[in-house]
Every structure is written in structure tokens, then in C-alpha cells.
């Protein structure tokens, strides 16, 4: 009987997207990644590791026996998920997939590849949550690390990571559909942390009423800036669309602003030039250059909006998450 059964054909590969809800960016982008994966022919599920990490730290503080027992329980849960769902690939924001050596890289035979998309800009710690050496896990032959910039790749290399590739962040396709009107033309917006390299410039422009700041209200208050709170993730496109232009660093926000048809104002570097041309974005060297670029935008917001539309077209052609993931998983 067994010999005569024809095997089932191969289904769509299933990708487990691993986030960490301690990190709002990871929580937000993980959903975008899953949707993009589905559009390019993969099946995808998203899961979070926040409480596993919190518990691992607590267990470690309670002693080796507790840590081992908790690790065994966490491994059993994830191993069951991998087997029951039939997970083929793991895609982690930063290294949020890194929990135990017994997961994904060493024990789970059916997981063929693990991809770390490094977005945060920080390097990993030396120790994985359950105490094993992080480098050993991160340098498993299954793992590929994707850095958003040469600078980040250099940092990861210096940490000792191998299998490095340059993969830039991107925008979710949904943002291309954003159609909210531009209602603020006398100020630009800055969305981000008070610890950003651009915080000083944002503070200066805010004091001159040239810029609105969105971010953690308390930390901006320490700089004397009355920031507005960040809206929930689904309202981000509307916020982007409210302003003709956005000042920001070169990260996923660059692509998101562009996808929403608005002008990104970013520090000039090779990464930016590789992604967008003049006429699609505004780039400038140094804080003085960026300040002048803000003034230019405020003098002619219609030109900024026209450039934003060109940036949106370019994003639709080249800078969506599905473009990146097709390359990552090729």
C-alpha cells in the first residue's frame, strides 16, 4: 500500500517572520514583510519573541537549572510550531530569531535558511538569550545577515559576523495607495527619537516653527521640544501625507515617505544616491545643508510635492519590500 502512494507536490514555501514587540519597528515591519512575502508567492506567519526573551533573562537570574528548564520549554514550543506548520525559512528582524542553539539553526532540519534583516543599526550582544555564544549561532551556515548600509555591514563584520549581504530597507506596497491631502505646507515634519543624529537640527527648526516633531513626548521635552505623540502604525501614511516634506535619517522612513508621494529630506550619502535621483528626493551634506534644504522646500512646497510624486513612482518600481525579499530569498 505504502509504495503505491504518489507523493504530494511541493507547496508554497512557508516563511516564519520573527519579530520582537519590545521594538516597535520590528513589530511594524514584520507585518509588512509577511504581506510582501505573500505577494511574491510565499506563505508567511508572524510570531513575536518578547516574552521568551524576558523569561530567559528572569530564568538566568534564578540559576542554571531554571534557565535550562525554561529553554527546554521554549524550544519545545517553537519546534512544534516549525514542524506542525512546516516552516521552511526564517526571517528575523535584527536577530530576534536567535533564542537557543536548539532552534532553527542546529536542530530544526526542515528550516533551510535563516535571514537576519538588520534594521536597528545596533550590533548583537555577545550572549544569546539562553547563554550560548551569539557568534556561533549567528555564523551558522544557514544564516545570512542583511545590513541596510555599508556602515552597518562594517559594524557587523567587526563584531565577527560572516555571510553578510547588503539589503536596504524598503516601503510597504500599501503606502502607495495613501491619498490623504497635504494640509501642512509651512512646516516640514520630523518623525523619530530625541537620540537621533538629526535631533539637534530638529530642535533648532522646531524653535523657529519650521518643523513639527513626532516621537516620544517625554524625551523630546528634555530638549525643550513639544513633540506630538506618534500615531498608531496604520495612521503613519496619513501623517506622511499631511506634510509636503519630511526630514529624517536614511532608514526605512526614507522609502515610506517616498511611497506616500512626499519628499524625503535626508543627509547625503552613497546609499541615498543609489536609490533615488535628484528631483525625487532632497539630499544635503551637513546640518547646514539640510537646514537650507528645509528652507527651500518651505519656499516652494508645490515643487516638493511634484518631487514626491516622482519618488513614489521610483519606489513602486524598485523599493518595495517585495523587491527586497525577492532578492533575499532568490
Amino acid at each position: 500500500v505504502a509504495a503505491s502512494v504518489s507523493p504530494a507536490p511541493a507547496p508554497r514555501p512557508l516563511v516564519l517572520v520573527v519579530a520582537n514587540d519590545f521594538d516597535p519597528v520590528a513589530a511594524r515591519i514584520s507585518r509588512h514583510l509577511a504581506r510582501a512575502l505573500e505577494r511574491i508567492g510565499y506563505a508567511a506567519i508572524v510570531r513575536d519573541t518578547r516574552l521568551n526573551r524576558w523569561g530567559a533573562a528572569e530564568a538566568a537570574a534564578a540559576g542554571a537549572a531554571r534557565r535550562e528548564a525554561f529553554e527546554a520549554a521554549v524550544v519545545a514550543k517553537w519546534a512544534k510550531l516549525v514542524d506542525d506548520y512546516g516552516v521552511d525559512l526564517v526571517l528575523g528582524l535584527d536577530a530576534h530569531w536567535m533564542l537557543s542553539p536548539r532552534l532553527f539553526v542546529q536542530a530544526a532540519e526542515r528550516v533551510r535558511q535563516v535571514h537576519s534583516l538588520w534594521l536597528s543599526g545596533s550590533v548583537p550582544s555577545d550572549e544569546a538569550p539562553f547563554g550560548s555564544a551569539a557568534r556561533d549561532l549567528l555564523n551558522s551556515p544557514k544564516v545570512t545577515h542583511h545590513g541596510a548600509s555599508e556602515l552597518l555591514l562594517e559594524k557587523l563584520r567587526a563584531f565577527g559576523l560572516e555571510h553578510l549581504r547588503r539589503t536596504r530597507p524598503a516601503a510597504p506596497r500599501d503606502y502607495l495607495r495613501a491619498a490623504d491631502p497635504c494640509t501642512v505646507r509651512d512646516r516640514v515634519a520630523f518623525i523619530g527619537d530625541a537620540s537621533s543624529d538629526l535631533a539637534g537640527l530638529a530642535q533648532k527648526l522646531w524653535q523657529r516653527a519650521r518643523l513639527d516633531v513626532y516621537g516620544d513626548v517625554e524625551s523630546w521635552a528634555r530638549l525643550g521640544v513639544e513633540a506630538k505623540p506618534m500615531p498608531p502604525f496604520p495612521q503613519l501614511p496619513a501623517l506622511y501625507r499631511r506634510y509636503a516634506a519630511h526630514l529624517g535619517p536614511v532608514n526605512e522612513g526614507l522609502f515610506e515617505v517616498a511611497a506616500c508621494g512626499r519628499l524625503p529630506l535626508v543627509p547625503d550619502d552613497a546609499e541615498v544616491r543609489a536609490c533615488y535621483d535628484d528631483g525625487e528626493i532632497s539630499r544635503a551634506s551637513g546640518l547646514n545643508g539640510l537646514e537650507a534644504a528645509v528652507e527651500n522646500v518651505l519656499r516652494d512646497p508645490e515643487a516638493a510635492l511634484a518631487a514626491g510624486l516622482r519618488a513614489r513612482e521610483r519606489t513602486a518600481r524598485e523599493h518595495l519590500w517585495e523587491h527586497r525579499l525577492a532578492e533575499v530569498l532568490a
Binding site: V1, S6, R47, K77, G86
Partner: protein, 450 residues
């Protein structure tokens, strides 16, 4: 009146119970098709913390509760989530967490497991609370309970849950677009476990070997329930001897009316034995007795499978160890990813409900149909309300099962045509998109492109 469209939906799953967890991902896909952001999060992680914080770490449990609550609160704040869906009661993480959160407008429990188990287990919710707090949560005005079978709904109503709806299970839309060929027309398939956990009674296996009919097996179970009472039943009989009479009547009624909700049967039997019913009510044991009544159908599923296995007409997948006592050699577990292809490989599938759930229109009924394959089912009112005899096969005995299976093997093209009709019906009525449409109080715009 239509309910407001959710701004964001949190779907709380439990990855320890993966067969149900997969439904969380199907629900998320259906919400996303309506442009409603959906976030699946796993409540098993909070449960792991209860394990970690047991024994000597127990005094620190409030910190673990706080960590679990913070994780969800942060996500809700960042994402603008205003609606929570969960399988069973996985939303009940810590007291007050979601019901007291002003941002959360509605909480929906989709029940797969039976309500009684959740109401009586000390580990539900994740962090144990008193019965009063549990009751306040399950009856909170924000909470609606969705049951896929009448018996589940009746059990919950007995426990005071009035905000409830009948919401049938369904299939994920992706299964409709599955075109793998049918390559096995000389056998049928069954994918699943024998249902009730634990080894079968030797006498039941002997009956199956002797080609006993479903009715004989149900009669065997009826007698076994009375002859081999568990410790609770022994105590009941000692304290109120008429309980045994009530159980005997109820078990016999279930044999005669195998798809009548067990609780309804117990209530009817209780009219003849009011003292016994009152005693059980005072003890809070009515659902325990109803559970025993459900066991009358315990061997429906194994007998279904075994009959065709013995004929060499069926491939069985999953739960190899659990099938062994029934003399059935099962193939390995089929992962969710591989399920659609396995459904499509065969022209026809066997489907039989898990007796413990007392609800017969299970997920497999819809999933096999969505894949354009014919399923052979017990002819229960619930199943019949979802599909007609030109879409699936409905049988009420093992002899009828054999006849339906033989027909499918003799004329697989007819079975495939039947499966295609089942697929069309599923596309029209039985996708998770339809259930969510009903939940939102709006007609599902299923033709809208994602």
C-alpha cells in the same frame, strides 16, 4: 446596523495547540484582505511564564503577569488595535487586561475546545484567578462568544454566558486556488487522530474487528459508561443513587439520537429524575455528566476509519501511536503547509467529528471542500446545514460508509465533480472571509481584489 470597521485586530493564538492556531493565521489573512491590519500573537508565551514562575519563583508571579500585560498593551498602543479575536479564551491573559482597556471595543472568542474544560481548568486563564473574576470576564459586555455547535453554546449558556452566536467554522480562501492533481483514485484518505485520547476499550476493538455497526459501538459505550464509572460518578451514585438512572436514560437517548446535544439530552432526562438533576446542579456537575453522555459517540471516528482501513481502501495520516491500538498503521503527520496538497491528492476523504466537542461541522469539512474534494461525513444536522448531498457524501452507518467509499473508488470522476460543487459552495458561503463579514455585520465584498 453594521458594527464599526476595526482599525486593527489582535488575534491571540496558542501555539501549543497548533491545529487550532493555524486558524489564527487564516483569520488574519481574511482581515488583511479587507485592508484591516491584523496581528497574530501567541499566548503560549505567557503560559510559559506561568511555568517558569512556578515553585520557588512563584512569589514573583505578579512581575510575570505585568510583563505579559505590558507586551500586549504596547502592541495595542502602537498599532491602534481596537478589536481582539481569540481561539477559545486565549485573550484572558491577566484580569482586566483587555476588558478594561478603553482602546478595545470588542473581544470575540471563537470556541474550538469545550467550554467546560476552560471553566474548570486551574490554568485558564494563564495566571489563575478566582472563579468570580473568571465569570466577570467571560460575561463582560465587550465579549462575544462564537460557537460552531449547539451543544457548545448550550454549555456556555448553562454557565451564564448569554452573549453568544453560532459561527460555523470555515476554510481559508487560499485553499480555493489549489490546483494540484488528484493522483490517488484507488484509495481515500483520512488525516487526523482518533479523537478521544487514551487507549480504546478492548471490547470496543473486538467489536470493530467483528464488523460491528456504529449503533452497536454506541450501545457498547453506553453500557461501559454505566459499568465502569469514574471516581466522580461513584461518588454521585453514593450520594444520590438516581443519578445512575438519569445517566442511563441520557446515554440511551444519545445512542438513539447521536447528534442531539448532550446537554439537551441531560436536561430532558433530568425531567424524569429531578432529584438527580438538582443534585448535579448543586454540585456544579451537569457538564461533567454531559461529558459522559458525549462518550457514547467515542468510537464513531475510529470505527469509520478502521472499517475502510480493513478493506484496504484508505490511507491514514497523523497520530501514528494513537492509531496503533485500533490496528491502523498511520503515515506520518502532515504539516499545515502540506495539507492542501494532501487533500488534493485524493478524490475523496473521510471526515468524522471528535466526539468530545459535540459539534460535527469541523474545519476539515470546509477545508476538504475548499480544495475541491469530496468528503464522506456522518449525516448530522450541522453538516447537512452546510452542504447538500450533491456536494458531500452523508452516511449514517458503517455499511453506508462502505457503500459511499466504494462508489467514490469505482467512479472517482463523479467524486471529483462532487468535490468541485463543494468547492463552489465553499467559495460562496464557507470561507473565513464570510465569517468575518458576518462578525463585522457587513456583507463580505469577496470580489474585491486584495
Amino acid at each position: 446596523m453594521n458594527a464599526p470597521i476595526p482599525r486593527g485586530v489582535l488575534i491571540l493564538s496558542n501555539d501549543f495547540l497548533t491545529p487550532f492556531a493555524k486558524t489564527s493565521d487564516y483569520l488574519a489573512e481574511a482581515f488583511e484582505r479587507r485592508q484591516i491590519p491584523a496581528y497574530v500573537r501567541d499566548n503560549a508565551d505567557a503560559r510559559l511564564l506561568t511555568y517558569l514562575f512556578s515553585e520557588e519563583m512563584e512569589p514573583d508571579t505578579p512581575r510575570a503577569q505585568q510583563a505579559a500585560a505590558d507586551a500586549l498593551r504596547d502592541l495595542i498602543a502602537w498599532t491602534g488595535i481596537d478589536t481582539v479575536l481569540s481561539l477559545d479564551l486565549n485573550w484572558f491573559v491577566t484580569p482586566g487586561l483587555l476588558v478594561d482597556d478603553a482602546a478595545i471595543r470588542a473581544i470575540h472568542s471563537f470556541w474550538f475546545d469545550d467550554f467546560r474544560s476552560w471553566s474548570t481548568s486551574p490554568f485558564n486563564p494563564c495566571f489563575p484567578v478566582s472563579g468570580d473574576v473568571f465569570q466577570q470576564h467571560v460575561k463582560h459586555p465587550k465579549v462575544t462568544h462564537h460557537f460552531y455547535g449547539d451543544c457548545q453554546a448550550q454549555e456556555a449558556r448553562l454557565l451564564g454566558v448569554t452573549r453568544q452566536r453560532l459561527t460555523r467554522l470555515a476554510a481559508p480562501r487560499s485553499l480555493l486556488h489549489n490546483d494540484e492533481p488528484c493522483v490517488n483514485t484507488d484509495r481515500l484518505a483520512f488525516i487526523g487522530n482518533p479523537g478521544f485520547r487514551g487507549p480504546p476499550h478492548e471490547g470496543a476493538v473486538k467489536l470493530m474487528e467483528a464488523d460491528a455497526e456504529l449503533d452497536e459501538l454506541r450501545a457498547f459505550c453506553r453500557d461501559a459508561i454505566l459499568l465502569h464509572p469514574d471516581v466522580h460518578a461513584v461518588k454521585w451514585y453514593e450520594e444520590e443513587p438516581t443519578v445512575k438512572n438519569l445517566l442511563a436514560v441520557a446515554a440511551e437517548a444519545r445512542r438513539r439520537f447521536p447528534y442531539q446535544p448532550a446537554l439537551e439530552i441531560v436536561r430532558m432526562a433530568g425531567t424524569h429524575y429531578p432529584r438527580a438533576f438538582e443534585y448535579l446542579n448543586e454540585k456544579g456537575a451537569i457538564l461533567d455528566l454531559a461529558f459522559l453522555v458525549k462518550l457514547v459517540n467515542r468510537y464513531d471516528r475510529p470505527a469509520f476509519v478502521r472499517r475502510l482501513w480493513k478493506r484496504g481502501w484508505i490511507d491514514v495520516y497523523s497520530a501514528e501511536e494513537e492509531w496503533k491500538p485500533y490496528g491502523v498503521e498511520a503515515r506520518p503527520y502532515v504539516s499545515f503547509r502540506d495539507l492542501p496538497a494532501h487533500y488534493r491528492m485524493y478524490a475523496a476523504h473521510l471526515n468524522a467529528p471528535n466526539a468530545i466537542r459535540d459539534a460535527t461541522a469541523n474545519e476539515k469539512l470546509f477545508e476538504v471542500s475548499a480544495c475541491g474534494r469530496m468528503s464522506i461525513n456522518l449525516d448530522s444536522p450541522d453538516v447537512r446545514s452546510c452542504y447538500g448531498p450533491d456536494e458531500i457524501a452523508l452516511v449514517d452507518s458503517l455499511a453506508a460508509l462502505e457503500a459511499a467509499a466504494e462508489k467514490a473508488l469505482r467512479d472517482p470522476d463523479a467524486a471529483l465533480a462532487q468535490g468541485e460543487r463543494a468547492r463552489a459552495r465553499t467559495a460562496r458561503e464557507h470561507l473565513w472571509d464570510h465569517r468575518i463579514g458576518a462578525l463585522l455585520g457587513a456583507d463580505a465584498d469577496l470580489n474585491r481584489k486584495p
